[in-house]
């Protein structure tokens, strides 16, 4: 899988590149700002662009803007946005149209090589990767009439992993249960929350997030 990495901090960029290469991914280009990133992505047409939110010249949301441009121009290129902060507002913006081939992770996650590589792969394959922090913020949001109250603790765990973009198999592995058990939980959740049952992982993510993000 071919990857372009964009981050203005050389130290971090090199680190990410090394981690991804060790995980067996091919880094075909590196960029230090938004413009540079767009050039490299257009040139290399990678499977995934790993993008830092803050980059020169404004050091505000260069990465996000570049990410949107890439998704408009080259929808087949997956985008994994890395951010120093987790803001639901950013997640909403990125997920506005589709969760397909999109990831939004806290920068800290680069420390977990396996998780980072998994996320890149998922995004590269057209799936989604949403940071557990975003998901837990959405899940943990105080609501007046909390529809999540009906869920069992196990169903909550499954819901969180689902929202992150994990497949049933991945969830089963994470929770150390059978695929069959996960399927049962998922059906239960969709039923209790009155969500449209959906097979594809990224659609599932979008459905879950749309639900979680409704105003209380």
């Amino acid at each position: 899988m071919r990857v372009v990495v964009a981050d203005d901090s050389t130290l971090l960029r090199e680190g990410v590149v090394r981690l991804l290469e060790e995980a067996g991914l091919e880094v075909v280009g590196q960029a230090g700002d938004g413009e540079d990133l767009l050039r490299k992505v257009r040139a290399h047409k990678p499977d995934v662009a790993v993008v830092d939110v803050r980059m020169p010249p404004t050091h505000t949301d260069e990465g996000l803007r570049a990410a949107r441009e890439i998704r408009d121009e080259l929808p087949e290129v997956g985008v994994l946005v890395l951010s120093q902060y987790v803001e639901i507002a950013y997640a909403r913006e990125l997920l506005a149209e589709s969760a397909e081939g999109l990831g939004y992770l806290l920068k800290d996650r680069v420390a977990d090589v396996q998780a980072l590589a998994d996320a890149v792969r998922r995004v590269g394959e057209g799936g989604s990767a949403l940071d557990p922090e975003v998901v837990s913020q959405m899940l943990g949001r105080a609501r007046r009439d909390d529809p999540l109250a009906e869920l069992t603790p196990r169903e909550r765990e499954v819901l969180a992993l689902m929202a992150e973009g994990r497949s049933n198999a991945a969830i089963a592995e994470e929770l150390v249960v059978t695929d069959r058990a996960v399927e049962k939980h998922v059906t239960g959740i969709f039923g209790k929350l009155d969500l449209p049952a959906s097979g594809e992982d990224h659609r599932r993510v979008l459905a879950v997030l749309r639900f979680l993000d409704q105003p209380a």
Binding site: T60, E87, A142, R144
Partner: protein, 493 residues
Amino acid sequence: MTSLRRALIALAIAAFAIGVASAALVLTSDHQSSRGLVVALILLAGWGFSGTGLFAWYQRPASSIGPLMTAIGFTWFLQGLQASEDSVIFALGILGSALPYAILIQLLVTFPTGRIETAFQRALIVLAYVDTTILQLAWMVFTDPTKEDGCRGCPESPILISSNSTLSGIFETIQVLIAIPAVAATIVYVFLHWKRSDRRDRRVLSPVLLTGAIAFGFLFVQLVLDQSGLPETAVTVAFIAGVMAFSGLPFAFLVGLLRLRIGRDEEIRTALTAENRQLTAELEAKVAELRASRTRIVEAGYEERRRVERDLHDGAQQRLVALTMSLRLVRGKLASDPDGAAELLDEAMEELGQATAELRELARGIHPAVLSDRGLGAALSGLADRSPIPVEILETPSQRLPESVESATYFVIAEALTNVARYADADAATIRVSRVDGTVEVEVRDDGVGGADPTAGTGLRGLEDRVAALEGRLAVDSPRGEGTTVLARIPCG
């Protein structure tokens, strides 16, 4: 020309004419003794009072002092009618001869305001009028002027019922017995009034008091002498002296009134000075408040730095030091105990994760990046999402606000929500940020226990300063048991 002025000029002409007529009457009289002296006295006091009275009337139309003085002048001329050979005119002259004294008493006890304010004033004035009108009339109906001393050749009185010397004597005595204490009371009253007054009021009262006291003193002496049966000459001398002083009175009133005007100028000056002083005091208070809030802002800045330093020192820095040690241990164990080394590395990773999480929160507390990147709406929904109680955002401005206003708004809401979570025991809270006519209104409302004291904690105080620095105002409404509303109004272009 105003109608008042026209009327006053007409009155002045009338006063002049009446004076001349009165003088002519006296000078052509058969029965009037000492004509020259009488004419001089009548004209001096009559014109004196009416002239100064009309002037005072013109100067201060709202005051009754001018009209009262004018009335004294006009009634004074009535004395001249006594010189008439016509019985009716003569009787009118007798009837009105004491009236000016009653008016003078009213003038003296109400000077300089002209207002009757106390029951004592009213009683004294009523008594004076009764004495000089009703009792005078009563005396007249029993007194035959032709039989009186010093009125030889006087005409018959047309209102004489029966010449009864006993009744005449009784009424005269009653009149005098009322007049003596009334005059004395007036003198004492004016003196007490003068004594109670401050320096400025005394300047107004002094000339009147002095002249009035002299006039009434002579009147008093005359009244007493009259009763004591002393020779006529002494009485006449007292009368003439009294009338002389009496004639000086209008000028004394005028001096008093003029001084009052000067006093009023001074009053205005004093009022202006007082207002100036108050403005200065307000300004000084504002400067002091500004200085205090500036100090607090600076101190808050230092306090903030100390907090950041403490958080860094206690958090990330400690963790990094621990991490260094862990890594050193790992290095030592790598060869001898690979499993132990791996375990230590896991711990180190955990530590690192904590350190980065803490740094992230710290950075957000200093300034939330999403606020500058995406504005209030996004930043506030983040705040609402992280709040442990349900927060509903009712309204946010559709356009971006100036950075300083946006930041103050954000921190007001963040602090308010922190307080709601900590103290309010609320079920829910709402946020509303609206822009109305160049002012941003920020409102955080909860349904908790209320009773918040904005002067207690430093949090709200800090917010107040932050808002005040932008010329805004922060209000906390927190009735016990009815929730709390924090309302900030910040001007923005």
